[in-house]
Symmetry: C2
Subunit: 507 residues, 2 copies
């Protein structure tokens, strides 16, 4: 060992960068925090929907990576100059599109802490705190939602943080698939059928594609206005029975609490009863509306959940937690683990062997996983149940106010009943000039509302998106951005009216 020990310890390494120097970390970290604080301060002044043209950034960037290092100050200047104009400002108080992503200081800081620790938490051993905090927080949250105890670790089930609902659905679908194939034989994989409604999120179809379900066996059962676009038990039963008659095997139902288009709610109880009869796994996707079920007056939307197999909602939508954070609970973790576990030699360790611990790698698609529970833990502790409820209710109240404003302008109509904090509305066909038959009148209204929405979004003043529900084009006004206050809602309505006035006058 002599020759090495006689050298100066770092001889030959002196030219190397110090990528985690604590004082430089501190200095640059403060710069970036200030950058973001200033961003939030001024985010209202930016056009909400980015106004750049496709290819804008290519023109501003070199073709190849820089050979030499550049200081953080230059990079932050470029973020402001080149990146910010290309951002659609999801954190703007005037953002009412899709479902907003409610950021928060606590959610942000939880992510920052997790990023700082930068652990790769595939199993318990790789950082016990990451696994254990996740099991604890998922039980906390399950209790906040009044989930049946079978979904909690304390009741034999358990929760896991996935990135998104797509992953939650894929994992549960694969668990259901393998359970069924074990019974009926793998040669029957092409007979398996997956059910949703025509309002179900595309994540279900995509998960089915990935899991190798025959695309012909994907059922988007039609819903009707009369049922408020919920999937009825009768429609489900009829579809299942027809499939069975054709020799197919019903596998999986995804029921939705708060659909993406119109926040419709599928009736869990009756659907689960039908599913049970035919041995179908029921996953409940409450991606959007799950959050508000922590308020007792909304909990009834989850009635029937006791008969489902799995349940998920996105804390990154309406629960102050930054992207990505999908909370998934299952009654039978064993089904997930059977379908998703691998145990290569290099991961073997005493804690796993003795089965005293949860190894979350077997509950999800990927091996490596971030320390996501920190952000959920910070959100819950920083605000507490009381404030979280107040915050969610304030969004509903704002949406109600917006609905009230619509009601006072006879040219507009609310197209479907509002369940939560999203309002689907349009200018009514009666207002659209021209002498149309009924069908063309509806078409004309659809075209007009599409044009109106585009003119509003182009202005950059507010941002909404659209849906087509039962053939009707609607504008969706989704309250949920964390900076939105009632004054922004009132202003948004003025913007809608101004653009409607201009367009109605010109047409």
């Amino acid at each position: 060992m002599g020759s090495i020990q006689n050298q100066k310890p770092d001889n030959g390494f002196s030219g190397t960068i110090k990528p985690l120097d604590p004082e430089e970390f501190r200095r640059q970290g403060h710069l970036v925090i200030d950058f973001l604080a200033d961003y939030y301060k001024s985010v209202e002044k930016y056009p909400v929907r980015s106004q750049v043209e496709p290819g804008y950034l290519k023109k501003r960037m070199p073709e190849s990576a820089p050979y030499e290092a550049e200081p953080i100050e230059d990079i932050l200047r470029d973020v402001q100059k080149d990146i910010v104009p290309g951002i659609t400002h999801w954190q703007s108080p005037n953002y009412f599109a899709y479902f907003p992503a409610s950021g928060s200081i606590a959610g942000f800081l939880g992510e920052v802490l997790g990023t700082g620790f930068n652990i790769v938490g595939f199993n318990w051993m790789s950082s016990p705190a990451a696994t254990e905090l996740e099991t604890i927080v998922m039980d906390w949250l399950g209790k906040m939602l009044d989930l049946p105890s079978e979904f909690l670790f304390s009741g034999g089930g358990g929760g896991v943080l996935q990135g998104t609902t797509c992953e939650a659905i894929l994992c549960t679908l694969v668990a259901a698939r393998d359970q069924m194939l074990k019974k009926i034989g793998r040669e029957n994989i092409n007979k398996l059928v997956v059910y949703g409604s025509d309002q179900t999120h595309s994540a279900l179809q995509k998960a089915a594609q990935i899991a190798g379900i025959n695309p012909e066996n994907f059922r988007a059962v039609a819903t009707k206005r009369a049922d408020a676009f919920g999937l009825t038990a009768d429609a489900l039963r009829a579809t299942i029975e027809s499939d069975i008659e054709s020799g197919l095997v019903p596998l999986f139902l995804c029921a939705t609490i708060g659909t993406t288009s119109s926040t419709a709610v599928d009736p869990l109880g009756p659907l689960c009863d039908v599913a049970e009869e035919y041995g179908v796994w029921v996953h409940v996707d409450a991606a959007y509306a799950g959050s508000i079920c922590i308020c007792p007056e909304y909990r009834h939307f989850l009635d029937g959940i006791e008969k489902a197999h799995s349940f998920s909602f996105n804390a990154h939508k309406w629960f102050l937690t930054t992207l990505d954070c999908c909370c998934l609970w299952v009654k039978d973790p064993g089904a997930l683990i059977k379908a998703l576990s691998t145990y290569p030699e290099y991961l073997r360790n005493k804690a796993s062997e003795t089965k005293q611990v949860v190894d979350y790698k077997d509950w999800q698609i990927t091996l490596s996983r971030r320390f996501r529970s920190l952000k959920l833990w910070l959100v819950i502790r920083s605000y507490g149940i009381a404030n979280l409820r107040k915050f969610l209710r304030s969004h509903v109240k704002m949406a109600k106010n917006f609905e009230g404003l619509i009601g006072m302008d006879k040219r507009f109509e609310v197209v479907v009943p509002r369940n939560f904090a999203t309002v689907c509305f349009r200018i009514s066909p009666i207002e659209i000039s021209g002498n149309h038959q009924m069908v063309t009148k509806e078409d004309a209204a659809n075209n007009f509302n599409a044009k109106l929405l585009e003119s509003i979004n182009e202005s950059g003043k507010i941002y909404m998106t659209h849906a087509v529900i039962g053939g009707v084009y609607v504008m969706r006004f989704a309250v949920g951005a964390s900076l939105t206050e009632n004054k922004h809602v009132i202003w948004a309505w003025k913007v809608v009216q101004e653009h409607a006035n201009a367009l109605l006058t010109s047409s």
Copy 2:
């Protein structure tokens, strides 16, 4: 509108929290940055592998979520008191386990900026900057790796940031599967065969499980010490031919540059030639070793890549980018898009319709996606190609030094040739006392080395993990943590020797 407008704008909302108040964000943000800077300053003093017992955190946490808000100062105190002891310190300079996750200031800040903007970048429109920066950075990085132009956007292919290699493999496997099923008919899904070696990462087997590949059709082709545990073209050919004889359909090969156990390298050129002959999709997994291929003297490990279909490496392993960040390139994005795209009404927009833009939702499993390119962009700009190369080479140099130290102690042996910055070594069987036959001597050595490793890890001084390669239990010394300097390597060797001395004396 009168009655609403006569109210004070926020009447009825005054009790609500302000979860994104910019000045409070600034204050708390600085606190957390200081917390992390202090953490890096002192990380060396913590036991590297966490020393807590299963269930430790449950005892310290309340059973239910708090009803009232708690101040950030209390939460940070609990992070220090309750979470830090349960962390296995991947950022410690004494971390040599698995493959380290090389954090950096730039990677951290890129993640922080992306978290702050908190966009949900599923398509171009949802934030053009996120998509465009990703295409630009992926082309930069592709050029740094000297990838054939067909993998770059500028050459008709393209790159995408996935979370992990598991996702990259699953996406490409599903693309290959659907391409093949279109040719041979979906009824033949159970005939598809997936190939790797017995050294291939478990991600391949898991992806195959998820994609609905018949588990009986997963081939972990045996490798041999004589081939340095690389998968040979002959072995692949023999396996494929035997499968064809059995009426099966070869589908997908995952070749590895730098296996997890021993950083073995599969010979891409010959393997791709065989694969081409049989119409097999070749994915190249360079999760660990891809990074160092930006150094010209290592680029030869990728020779043959021009004949592969897809290629991925993890920037979160050895490229200073925080978890998660897997870089995937494909020659034919159309194959991915065909297998993974959905286009629901509410996502329709002008930019996507005119096909002028990339919509990355169709290149991956999930719809929602983080703004991951920021961190890669910050890493490349903050350090530049020159420093990145220097940094990677410094790790190789440290690993070489460690190897040199092993070589000077006759009791130890390096078990497989070192390709990169990971050394697989053990106490040689000759040193293990007792009068054993050859086979039992090897068994005794395996047991002894396992015991030695556990005693080292239990000490908390350094952390290494193990592998079993060709029946031989080895300790893996993986240099890659960003704070590691040569002095830590020298010290680590002392720790190994001390524990070996103690154990050899006692046995």
